[in-house]
Symmetry: C2
Subunit: 346 residues, 2 copies
């Protein structure tokens, strides 16, 4: 590939990062934890080391990366996501697979604490030597959380984890971010339909490869059947995400284990179908490319927003635009003129 | 307002632009057409004049701007949007309202010609002295089309048009752009349900304030009723766009005029409800603020993409990221380091 010479990253790691890498690829859990902390760090020196570590992994661990299965789990609070992960995670480790669980919860940056992926929620799975559970990073803004989660996925794969589950709360924008990080997206729903489900964004249903209706046990069975029927008919006239796959609707119970194996079989069938049609790698490629531009865009806007000379002006102009006395286009032009130097823009 | 002194735009117009402004606010159609051409122009001198014109309008024409009603019309090809606009437009002018029709069709930039808003499609309305019809701008990229359409809306309002209809093709991203430009969004649908409607993005249904099922006449009535029922049940469990309004479903016929008056009444009721709840101006304010940041983001990314020294590198890195041999975060860092100068980033 003639373009390769253009890449100037020389992955000469600091001795302790080299050690971290060596231990990581052996599957050492403590090293994986330290590596994730490294990619989450906002320190300048950590960033430079983390970039080298990631580059080395991207170069050397292709077989593991290519074989892994990234599954996103989304759903509203109360859908029973953590109980599902407990049961589903054990099902996978019992089949001989190593499972990593990551969480994306940008809201946790507001409250200062990370709830998702908390080991106290998944007590059984966190003691399972074949599983690794990690809470949501506290990086303060959505762009930062997205990047460190994308990199944490790679680290888990380099450490030999076969399946990476990425859990998200069913609120805000995190679901859309996760949809672009994973090979398959599952929406976990409680058995409640119609008006009770108003909180779920239709947009995310369109992004799903499987809808999993949880708590399908005891006297909730009729309600679960009703939700399944509603979604079956709703999906009928939604744009399919991939032309090779029709979103499946599954009914499960994390209590009775009903449907857990079917869920895994369906996801495997999805993966095989996508691979057969060259759509698996295609989706990942498109995601990677989109992330590159996403990061660039995010950093450009951040560098603009954080220009200390202009910050007061941003706020003032925003207020004027908001009240209707300044045109948004004119405001943008004036702020950019100040940012770039007058001669370049106006 | 203490922030006002910060705005340094001095709207001293060139003599011919001043004349354009004077004629425009008198409602002269030829001047409106010339003013729209000015805001669509990419010439540096035109841009500077257009900025002054827009600033002057934003300052002097507040009553007209505040009173206008911006209505977006979206829907798949074949829904009968132009026939609807013919009939609906006449209904409005017959009520003594001046109606402007703008079109957003970014795809027309590819084919080189603008189809939407074409006067040959709306022969009757284009001859109506109370109506003004304008085709989609050919500005080459979505961001440019968005900005000139937003400014064309202002120009129409300054020229005394009471209702501005913004038509969009039901494909691509144009619908989402238009959703953020208007006070009310109508989805126009043909009487075809289930599998035939797969092309419609669920996301746009969520953005709608009214769903208008067209062609509800003759032997299409049963099909139209079926679509209406499907959408009624689908809407039941969608997130409402505004807490003050539940999306209405309307059945109309552009052939028999059935439901045209009801559509207008419903839209007026929507406007009144939103105004009563302070949500009308609130939505516009939020839109204006979002557009300011949208323009800034767009221009920042454009200036990055168009850096001629780096363009070859963008393409090469994108390819490496796509094939999985370069990490998207590392690629973004390297490209930004080159763009900003090494010391600032790495």
């Amino acid at each position: 590939m003639s373009q390769r010479h253009l890449v100037t990253v020389t992955p000469q790691l600091a001795p302790n990062t080299q050690m971290l890498y060596d231990q990581l690829v052996k599957g050492d859990r403590a090293s994986l934890a330290r590596a994730i902390t490294l990619v989450e760090s906002t320190l300048k020196t950590s960033k430079s080391e983390s970039r080298k570590l990631i580059s080395l992994i991207q170069r050397n661990c292709q077989p593991r990366i290519k074989d892994s299965f990234r599954i996103g789990l989304s759903g509203p609070p109360g859908a029973g996501k953590s109980t599902f992960i407990e049961v589903f995670g054990h099902h996978l480790t019992n089949s001989g697979l190593k499972v990593a669980v990551l969480a994306v919860d940008p809201s946790s940056t507001r409250t200062g604490g990370s709830l998702l992926g908390d080991k106290t929620r998944m007590t059984e799975l966190s003691r399972n030597p074949m599983a690794y559970i990690r809470g949501s990073p506290n990086r303060g803004y959505l762009g930062g959380v997205a990047r460190s989660t994308n990199e944490a996925i790679l680290l888990c794969e380099a450490a030999g984890y076969d399946v990476v589950l990425v859990e998200t709360v069913g609120v805000g924008q995190s679901e859309y971010l996760v949809a672009d990080m994973v090979d398959a997206l599952c929406l976990i729903l409680p058995p409640a339909g119609g008006d009770e489900l108003q909180g779920i964004k239709r947009g995310i249903v369109e992004q799903c490869d499987a809808v999993v209706i949880n708590k399908c046990d005891g006297d909730l069975i009729p309600a679960a059947n009703r939700v399944a029927a509603e979604y079956t008919s709703a999906l009928k006239f939604m744009t399919p995400k991939s032309k090779h796959w029709r979103t499946k609707i599954l009914k499960i119970s994390s209590k009775t284990n009903e449907g857990i194996d079917t869920t895994w079989h369906t996801l495997q069938e999805f993966k095989e179908t996508m691979i057969e049609n060259n759509a698996f790698q295609e989706r990942r490629s498109a995601q990677q490319k989109a992330w590159m531009w996403q990061y660039i865009q995010h950093r450009l806007v951040e560098s603009f927003r954080q220009n200390t000379d202009l910050r007061q002006k941003h706020v003032a102009y925003e207020a004027l635009v908001s009240e209707g006395s300044l045109n948004p286009g004119v405001a943008a032009d004036l702020l950019l003129a100040d940012f770039w130097g007058k001669d370049r823009v106006l």
